[in-house]
């Protein structure tokens, strides 16, 4: 994974609460067997009309949204299915961070494995970001801060290990495999075997 230290971008806003992973990428696209190319299907049924034309009312179809890497979303973003395809679709499209007041556990965890960062902020900051789509924000991963509205800065929670992996471009599987002696030791010494 490439090291990630800083994300600077304008925002795109989806204020709806509880956007689930079925909306991020509908299940009918999950028969693919590679990680690539899911960006065109991102938010498919919200982004496109039934005839396949872009829905002009959807935030990602606004001209100002082009190139945005930070998505500000309603509370409890990414709930539902564990499909990592949701993360791959967002990254493939160009979204690298999601900001909300609550982000679902599996989504957040899957994101960190791929370099997509979930940032939980207080309701006041969230409301300001919802009210100001297209604003420029800057995310500092090493310092775990989000800068917005010019000079305002809020800190966000990020697990120290996740931060270490993001900033260092560390592969977590590599880390686990280095601990193989501990894993073998556990298997040999447990009081029962599955």
């Amino acid at each position: 994974m490439q090291p990630i230290t800083r994300i600077r971008s304008t925002t795109v806003v989806l204020p709806t609460r509880d956007i689930d992973t079925d909306q991020i990428i509908p299940a009918r696209f999950l028969t693919a067997t590679s990680r690539e190319g899911f960006g065109v299907q991102l938010f498919h049924d919200l982004r496109f009309n039934k005839d396949g034309s872009p829905n002009p009312g959807f935030a990602l179809n606004q001209p100002a949204a082009a190139g945005c890497a930070v998505l500000v979303a309603g509370n409890n973003f990414g709930c539902g299915s564990s499909r990592e395809h949701a993360i791959w679709a967002l990254l493939d499209y160009g979204i690298r961070a999601v900001v909300s007041t609550e982000i679902a556990d599996i989504f957040r965890n899957n994101g960190l494995k791929n370099g997509l960062i979930s940032i939980v902020v207080d309701t006041q900051t969230h409301q300001w970001l919802l009210d100001n789509p297209g604003t420029e924000v800057e995310i500092d991963i090493a310092r775990t801060t989000l800068r917005f509205a010019g000079d305002k800065t809020v800190a966000f929670q990020l697990d120290d290990f996740a931060r270490y992996c993001l900033v260092g471009g560390i592969d977590q599987l590599g880390f686990l495999r280095q601990r193989m002696p501990d894993i073998e030791n556990f298997e040999q010494n447990r009081s029962w075997t599955p």
Partner: protein
């Protein structure tokens, strides 16, 4: 120090404990895999030239992309879509190449992964169980710690049999009262989600306790734990008891002989000790609970069958959900015309669920204009249901009796609800488009679904029980 059920299972699986700098390394006893969330993980193993570390702890089947139309196997039935064909053949190749036994289309033991794990006795109290599937929470009904993971973590487990995890918090759900006639585990879990919200369990492992849980059979307990994820929870657990032990006795992968005795002794200790501390607690009284139905686009938007749909109070997310559902506030759902009824999914496709639906359909007809699918959770359940004549009841009523699979819960195999049509479904998610693009889903119990199929409208099942 007194411990919770979760803490006992967690501590029993720590290869190394967590520190501020590093998560715990958690050992996984059972890895369930299916065709949708594994191809990219196997690709990574190939890239890094890694073997699957414990094929013997890996249980593989195919359930999502597989057809359910009647036939001896899916060799005789068209798999819908070229990419689904490729996904299925890729799963067969991956399992063959990496030495994993696959419960393939010709296996009598195949079915939905969360149905066959328990059925085969692979799911056991005290195990850690993961799958690239959020409804892995189902297996917590046995006192296992079971949770859904993404495909990258599927790769971690395939390669190392371990996961890097931070310890989640605990939430005790104390349930008092007994469920009344016509009210089931599905109604109970929908009521709980309605009460705590679709993010009420986020970052927590739930433990369901109390008289209503103790009175439930394993099928019902699985229904409850299955939907823990719909409250955002990491997992849901129920302490094992006589019901659990009796269910597992004699199952093909359950321990035998002296191993069985020592396993049962170990399982008996898997209860939350008196005085064990939970991070949060919630109480639910089910004595007056009636059948529950969802009206919106997440499982927390739920009401009693005779209650009116609440007002949006200017909330745009709420209004968007009602617009999608084409429903208006102030009226109950019982007037709503139904197009499709689905009885199935890892939530409600077990024998007792099918018996509940059959009890309503016996001697009655599915209403004109309603399509009803009954999809057993496994080939074993299909066989058991046919042995007691349930298939004949469903067919005589005008319902379709299918082969096992996820089917219309997720609509990946061609079983979909047509655009704009209204479905009463025993599955777990009423998300926009979940059962097919534009499909409108009302979640309900098997009894309520069957009563709605007969009525042609969303229906309270209790009058049907009195007539029977």
């Amino acid at each position: 120090m007194p411990s919770t059920l979760f803490e006992k299972v967690w501590h029993d699986h720590l290869v190394t404990p967590e520190t501020p700098d590093t998560p715990a390394i958690l050992y996984i006893d059972l890895h369930l895999i299916h065709e949708v969330t594994t191809p990219q993980a196997f690709a990574l193993l190939r890239e890094q030239q890694l073997p699957v570390r414990r094929p013997d702890l890996t249980l593989a089947t195919m359930d999502h992309s597989t057809p359910t139309l009647p036939g001896a196997s899916f060799k005789d039935v068209a798999i819908v879509g070229a990419s689904a064909v490729k996904q299925i053949s890729q799963m067969q190749k991956n399992c063959a190449d990496f030495g994993i036994a696959l419960l393939d289309h010709d296996s009598d033991d195949r079915g939905i992964v969360h149905v066959i794990g328990p059925e085969l006795g692979a799911t056991q109290p005290g195990k850690t169980i993961v799958c690239g599937d959020s409804h892995t929470s189902t297996h917590g009904a046995f006192g296992a710690l079971a949770f859904g993971i993404g495909t990258t973590e599927v790769g971690h487990v395939l390669a190392t049999q371990c996961l890097l995890q931070r310890q989640p918090k605990t939430l005790a759900v104390d349930i008092s009262g007994r469920l009344g006639a016509g009210v089931s585990a599905k109604d109970l879990i929908l009521a709980i989600i309605g009460q705590i919200g679709v993010n009420g369990g986020t970052r927590h492992v739930l433990e369901y306790r109390g008289a209503a849980i103790e009175a439930m059979g394993m099928d019902a307990r699985m229904t409850v734990c299955n939907m823990s994820i719909e409250a955002g929870a990491r997992a849901g657990m129920i302490a094992p008891d006589d019901t659990t032990v009796n269910y597992l006795a004699g199952r093909p992968q359950a321990p035998r002989g002296r191993d069985w005795d020592s396993a049962v002794t170990r399982w008996r200790r898997l209860v939350s000790d008196d005085g064990a501390r939970f991070d949060a607690m919630v109480s639910v009284d089910v004595a007056r609970l009636g059948p529950m139905v969802t009206f919106g686009t997440n499982p927390g938007m739920v009401i009693g069958i005779n209650e009116a749909i609440p007002d949006s109070r200017g909330d745009p997310s709420f209004r968007k959900a009602l617009d999608y559902m084409q429903l208006v506030p102030g009226k109950p759902l019982t007037d709503t015309e139904v197009d499709v009824v689905f009885v199935g999914s890892c939530t409600n496709s077990r024998l007792s669920d099918l018996q509940d639906a059959a009890a309503i359909l016996k001697g009655r007809r599915v209403a004109d204009g309603v399509t009803m699918l009954v999809v057993p959770g496994s080939q074993q359940i299909k066989e058991q249901a046919e042995a007691i004549g349930l298939d004949k009841i469903f067919r005589a009523a005008g319902a379709q009796w299918r082969e096992s699979g996820c089917s219309m819960c997720i609509g990946m195999n061609g079983d979909t609800v047509p655009n704009g049509k209204l479905s009463v479904s025993t599955s777990n998610r009423n998300f926009e488009g979940r059962q097919g693009a534009g499909a409108r889903t009302i979640l309900a119990s098997p009894i309520t679904a069957a009563a709605s199929a007969v009525s042609g409208r969303v229906a309270d099942p209790r009058p049907f029980l009195r007539e029977a």
